[in-house]
């Protein structure tokens, strides 16, 4: 039986692999900027669809309930109003998405770093200062 220290390290490595390993490797296989961009794209698509529905409801209200004529409803001023609201929504959700996804990426990267350190310990390598860049290069 291998010594207990090695078993402890292997157990911790296995626990990490089971809980976070696959997800963290998927996250950190991208550069941070690419990962955040990809995630933000999904958020923006969702916000675009939601904005389209809200715009349809707004125009429907204007035409059929408020009784505004079609030329006033689809005027340039109304278009600018709706467009501004959509842009503001996009900006807000981009900021929120960027903050959340960066945080997620940083946590995943931190965990991967810890994993690599434990692996070095297990393999009996001298613990060198492993940087985040080394980690990424090794994995890609």
């Amino acid at each position: 039986m291998e010594d207990l220290k090695k078993v402890r390290i292997m157990t911790n490595l296995a626990i990490y692999d089971k809980n976070h390993g696959e997800e963290d490797r998927k996250i950190t296989s991208h550069y941070r900027r690419d990962y955040v961009y990809k995630k933000n794209l999904r958020i923006r698509i969702g916000v675009f669809l939601g904005s389209a529905v809200l715009a349809m409801l707004y125009y429907g209200y204007k035409l059929f309930i408020a009784g505004t004529d079609i030329f006033t409803t689809f005027s340039k001023a109304e278009g600018i109003k709706i467009g501004t609201a959509v842009v503001i929504l996009f900006v807000i959700y981009t900021i929120i998405g960027t903050v959340i996804n960066r945080e997620r990426y940083n946590l995943a990267e931190e965990r991967c770093l810890q994993y690599e350190k434990m692996l070095s310990k297990l393999n009996g390598k001298k613990e060198t200062h492993i940087t985040k860049e080394d980690n990424k290069n090794e994995r890609t």
Binding site: M1, E2, K6, V7, M10, T11, L13, A14, I15, D17, K18, N19, R42, I43, G46, V47, L49, G50, V53, L54, L57, G60, Y61, F64, I65, Y93, I96, G97, I100
Partner: protein
């Protein structure tokens, strides 16, 4: 305090013995409860057997799906039940759920569980426990689901009226515009008058105040946060009742808030005792052996000693 700690330790010991099974049972009970309550939306249009089958299947699904899939499933089943009574009402509910999903649930899947939690708490007459709990453990991310839950609970009774105005038997695709206008004319005065937005604002304020206090560097910040949230809710609801015609009982608000504060206090006292790292079963091998390991996190004894020293 020590009684709470020792009770928490006993509870943890029992829980850790069969953690996976307990989690499955709790999720199953929660799923059955939520989907069982959703069946009310069918308004008698579906047979009991049908409802039972859907509730059991969805309850079982709840045990292994992610939070966002659970929310999507709940919304889908709610719209399906409404569809059996009225197509236009189902469409209105679908649009609401869709907007909630793209603007919040999709981005904050775990925090969106506050919505079914708060609706369940409303059912048990203690909705105040969720904003106070959210102030301690979630923070400002809970503002939207708390507000959404208040809106949903305050206006669900209108769905019946909408279904009566636009019954399924009278549905025609051509007449959908007239139905939409009728629904708008029915909803518009009622939604504004029932004062739900004041209650939502009060709950959101209590979350913000509780979160701010819990992040201050003072002694007993969590207990102070619970008290601050509770006082905000009580004062805010009394103002909402007297000046804004909110549909809330005064005695219910005061008693409910006090009970909710007590519940959250007990939960947060046991917080450090219940280790949220779950027991893990892993297997791996090296050149000589296969290893089958069960790793159970220890209860943090050091933290208990610290608390005991503080109380002395």
């Amino acid at each position: 305090m020590e009684i709470v700690i020792s009770f928490g330790q006993s509870l943890t010991a029992v829980y850790k013995k069969a953690e996976v099974q307990f989690n499955v049972i709790f999720k199953l009970i929660a799923g059955l409860f939520v989907f069982g309550r959703l069946s009310v939306l069918s308004m008698g249009s579906a047979s009991s057997l049908y409802i039972l089958i859907i509730t059991i299947c969805c309850g079982v699904l709840t045990t292994f799906v992610t939070p966002s899939i659970f929310m999507v499933l709940a919304a889908f089943i709610a719209c399906f039940y409404l569809f059996l009574a009225s197509v236009e009402t189902a469409l209105a509910a679908f649009i609401f759920c869709f907007l909630l999903f793209v603007f919040y649930v999709h981005i904050f899947p775990k925090e969106s569980l506050v919505i079914p939690a708060m609706l369940s708490a409303y059912f048990f007459k203690i909705p105040y426990v969720v904003p106070i709990f959210a102030a301690l453990y979630i923070g400002v991310r809970a503002l939207v689901p708390v507000g959404a839950a208040v809106f949903i609970w305050s206006n669900t009774h209108l769905l019946k009226g909408m279904a009566e105005i636009t019954p399924k038997a009278d549905f025609t695709p051509v007449g959908i515009l007239d139905s939409a206008i009728k629904i708008y004319e029915y909803l518009q005065p009622t939604i504004v008058e029932n004062g739900w937005h004041f209650v939502a604002i009060v709950f959101c304020f209590s979350v913000i105040i509780g979160w701010v206090v819990s992040n201050m560097f003072v002694d007993y910040e969590r207990e102070l946060a619970i008290v601050a949230s509770g006082i905000t809710i009580m004062v805010g609801l009394l103002i909402a009742i007297f000046f804004a015609n909110a549909q809330v009982s005064i005695i219910g608000a005061i008693l409910g808030t006090i009970i909710s504060c007590g519940i959250v206090y007990v939960v947060q006292s046991m917080d450090f005792v219940l280790d949220y790292g779950s027991a893990q079963r892993v297997k791996f091998q090296d050149d000589n052996y296969f290893y089958y390991v069960k790793a159970v996190p220890k209860i943090k004894e050091a933290k208990i000693e610290e608390i005991n020293e503080e109380t002395k």
